[in-house]
Amino acid sequence: MGHPKELLVTDGKSPDAASSGKAKKSNPNDPQWADGLRQLYDSVVDEPLPDSFKDLLSKLDGEAK
């Protein structure tokens, strides 16, 4: 599932600058917030799963029996 490149780019900027991962210090028109958006998302994805979810998932299994 590809990440739509055009989303990460402000008009006239190179796609590479936007998708290179590291946000650089730059003017406010820079699409760095687009990168930040993914960082926000990814930072939650990368969090260790709280025990409450492990508990819930194992409980679901139990119900199925």
Partner: protein, 202 residues
Amino acid sequence: MSESKRTASEQADFKRELTEVVPHLRAFARGLCGRPDMADDLVQEALMKAWAAQERFEPGTSMRAWTFVILRNAYLTDMRRNRFRGEYDEGVAERILTAPAGQEEPVHLSDMHRALLTLPPERREALLLVGAGGFSYEEAANICGCAVGTIKSRVGRARSALNAMLESGDIPNRSLDDATAHRAILEELDNVAAGNGIAAAS
């Protein structure tokens, strides 16, 4: 909904795939409602609903898209019940957002998130799905039960609004519980419920 009982192995596959998407559900939920604790409550609710509805999941299709629809509906239902009224906590959001190590400009990132939370929900959601979740416009349209053009337009408007806010540094401290702000998204929920969304269709 148990017209075709799944085999044990199919059920194990479902469980495994469901487990795999939990981190994504948490990320999407947090983007939607802003508060980590409430976001996790939503995800738990969505997981139980997904488990109960597992016969409707078509193996081989995207578990992430399927569960996002369920999560989204749970969010909107709770929104209707005003569960999120006045619950957004700036302090919590700031702490969360400055947490990631190696972030060069935590202030900008937190500004970005605050700006994101001021967007009308349907635009915020569209931007989250496409810009953060990496869904295609088509996939996002299926999740939201609306036209592809509508998603494109929402993403475009969301981007413009964020650009404007972040450029000027003027991020309105707008309430997230404005009922009118949710009108469009709630209409779409009806749309999904009426069978135009992928969850209802499968």
